[in-house]
């Protein structure tokens, strides 16, 4: 549980935020200048907000001095200690535990004896992440930690964060502009605008809500569904079952029986009136249209029921007209298995 109530008046900007989120990853989402960093700083106590109530796992921390809050904070800028080697930066907040695995995961083993001044932008950011992780915090705050990193590096760090969330159970407050990252990590999404909370809810719900589409951007819209690993096939595909049947995905390194979360972007779903044959897409599910909502531009967002789950599909207005799409329409959704990105699979939160 994370409970946050913060009020603060900057000159020309007022922050007034109140939300509760269950254990797991809480994503702060919003445009530049929305107030995400300010909320994170107030939670950590480094911004002395006019009013701040913060509870982590039921315990109020707002009365504690900063060092006793035990918050691992990766700031938006790396903030490495310039007079210490990378190694000593990493060690600074360590409370026991080993440095090795985290250093390896972050690929900073060769940099340990360097001074921060001799690091690249992304290297510095990775060291900052390592330093926060090693402090064994009670709450982890990550302010755009992966912004300066390439995809390959992100792909190494994200699973680690998932493990923190699932195995270690550390609550995480995560600031990011990347819907893919949020979809993968977040249990709860807090959408902010101009210092206020616009929408709070479970990630699947918030991201499957056509009303939220304008906030997160049409191109990033998509639904989250929960699946169970059913089998690993010899050709490298993994079969997943969900309420609407079976999904085939590129190999998922989770044991059979594991429950996962899978994100299907609206633009990766194609609708067909009849089941298509002889195509390279492996996943075809029967669906019923529930709602249609015109987006900006010529696109239409269609909310679909597939089994017990909800999907979002984005089609052109022309197609919608041609196929006579309307609430109640029945047909098939074609999902290219490979279009379900690895980056969008996460363990169920």
């Amino acid at each position: 549980m994370l409970e946050v109530r913060i009020k603060h008046a900057f000159q020309g900007f007022t922050l007034d935020v109140d939300f509760e989120a269950p254990t797991g990853v809480t994503a702060l989402f919003g445009r530049s200048g929305a107030g995400k960093t300010s909320v994170a700083k107030a939670v950590a106590g480094v911004l002395h907000a006019d009013e701040a109530r913060v509870k982590v796992a039921g315990g109020a921390i707002d009365g504690l001095p900063v060092p006793r809050r035990r918050i691992g904070y990766v700031f938006q800028e790396p903030r490495l200690f310039p007079h210490m080697s990378v190694r000593n930066n990493l060690r600074y907040g360590m409370r026991g535990g080993a440095m090795g695995p985290i250093v390896e995961m972050l690929g900073i083993g060769d940099l340990l004896d360097r001074r921060p001044g001799a690091l690249s932008g992304g290297e510095a950011q990775r060291v900052a992440i390592g330093r926060a992780l090693l402090s064994q915090p009670r709450l982890l705050i990550l302010d755009e930690p992966l912004a300066a990193l390439d995809d390959a590096r992100k792909a190494e760090i994200l699973p680690y964060l998932e493990r923190l969330r699932d195995d270690v159970g550390i609550p995480i407050l995560y600031v990011s502009h990347s819907v893919a990252e949020i979809a993968r990590l977040a249990t709860t999404v807090v959408a902010m605008e101009a210092g206020r909370v616009m929408r709070v809810g479970p990630t699947a719900e918030v991201l499957s809500d056509p009303d939220v589409v304008p906030i997160i951007g049409v191109r990033e819209a998509g639904a989250l569904v929960e699946v169970t690993v059913a089998a690993h096939h010899d050709d490298g595909l993994t079969a997943l079952t969900w309420s609407a049947g079976e999904l085939l995905l590129p190999h998922v390194s989770q044991p059979v029986g594991a429950r996962l979360r899978v994100r299907i972007e609206a633009q990766d779903i194609m609708l067909a009136a009849s089941r298509p044959e002889g195509i390279s897409a492996l996943n075809v599910v029967p669906v019923t249209a529930i709602a249609l909502r015109d987006g900006a531009g010529p696109g239409v967002i269609v909310q679909l029921r597939a089994g017990d789950d909800l999907l979002l599909a984005r089609v052109t207005g022309r197609s919608a007209k041609a196929m006579a799409l309307a609430p109640g329409w029945q047909g098939f959704a074609v999902v290219k298995s490979v279009a379900v990105a690895a980056g969008n699979i996460g363990s169920a939160g």
């Binding site: 060092p67 903030r79 200690f81 007079h83 600074y92 921060p116």
Partner: protein
């Protein structure tokens, strides 16, 4: 070199070194504390403390010496208390060190304060999120990042302590081996016609000593600069 100066002059040089080093060493921790308070705390009496620290710079040295005498002289309450505790400073080399320390204090505090004010509070903030107590933040982050100012303050204080004359002679007089520092000796030589030769020899020695200290400090400063990332490797 021992032929260059007579034994009495060597005594003065040794004493001056002892006085200057003691003055610098003892005033450094206090200088750091006072600089910290002046830089970071807002309180009633801030201006007063600040003024007090600067007083020795503003007053003619003789006046400072006189004020020391009426505070720490053997007859003064504070002085006699110290005397009774075996810590009397009047007419002792420790008094010379006290005078030098007080005269050098504003220079030291100002340098340290300047450096302290240039330390990025975000780094201290970051350290505290990593669980560091105020004390640990200070010793591991603030203090190392203040190093240039501490170094500068130390050098200034040492140089000033080596050169201090007016307050010293007024406060602790001029007792060979106890309080006859190099500047006192130089002054004495300059008072008599024909004493210039001996005076210049002492001047040379004190310049050499101080230049050595300066040089060492420059080298250290460059290292420190690199350590705290002000210069690229």
């Amino acid at each position: 070199m021992s032929g260059f100066l007579g034994p009495a002059e060597w005594e003065a040089v040794a004493l001056s070194l002892r006085v200057a080093l003691t003055a610098t060493a003892f005033s450094l921790p206090l200088g750091i504390v006072v600089a910290y308070i002046l830089a970071r705390k807002r309180f009633f009496g801030h201006g007063l403390l600040n003024g007090l620290v600067h007083l020795p710079l503003i007053l003619p040295p003789v006046v400072t010496g006189y004020l020391l005498l009426i505070s720490f002289g053997p007859q003064a309450p504070l002085g006699s208390l110290l005397e009774a505790m075996g810590l009397g400073v009047a007419f002792r080399w420790t008094g010379a060190a006290l005078a030098a320390a007080i005269m050098a204090f504003p220079l030291m505090v100002r340098a340290i304060r300047l450096s302290l004010e240039a330390v990025d509070p975000k780094l201290e903030e970051t350290a505290s999120t990593l669980g560091a107590s105020r004390l640990r933040v200070f010793t591991t982050i603030t203090l190392p990042l203040m190093a240039p100012g501490i170094l500068t303050g130390t050098v200034l204080a040492f140089a000033k302590a080596m050169g201090e004359f007016g307050a010293t002679i007024t406060f602790v007089s001029n007792i060979p081996g106890q309080t006859r520092t190099v500047p006192s000796a130089i002054y004495a030589f300059l008072q008599v016609p024909g004493g210039e030769g001996a005076a210049w020899r002492l001047v040379v020695v004190s310049v050499v000593v101080a230049m050595g200290a300066l040089l060492v400090s420059e080298i250290m400063a460059r290292r420190v600069g690199k350590r705290i990332g002000r210069q690229d490797a």
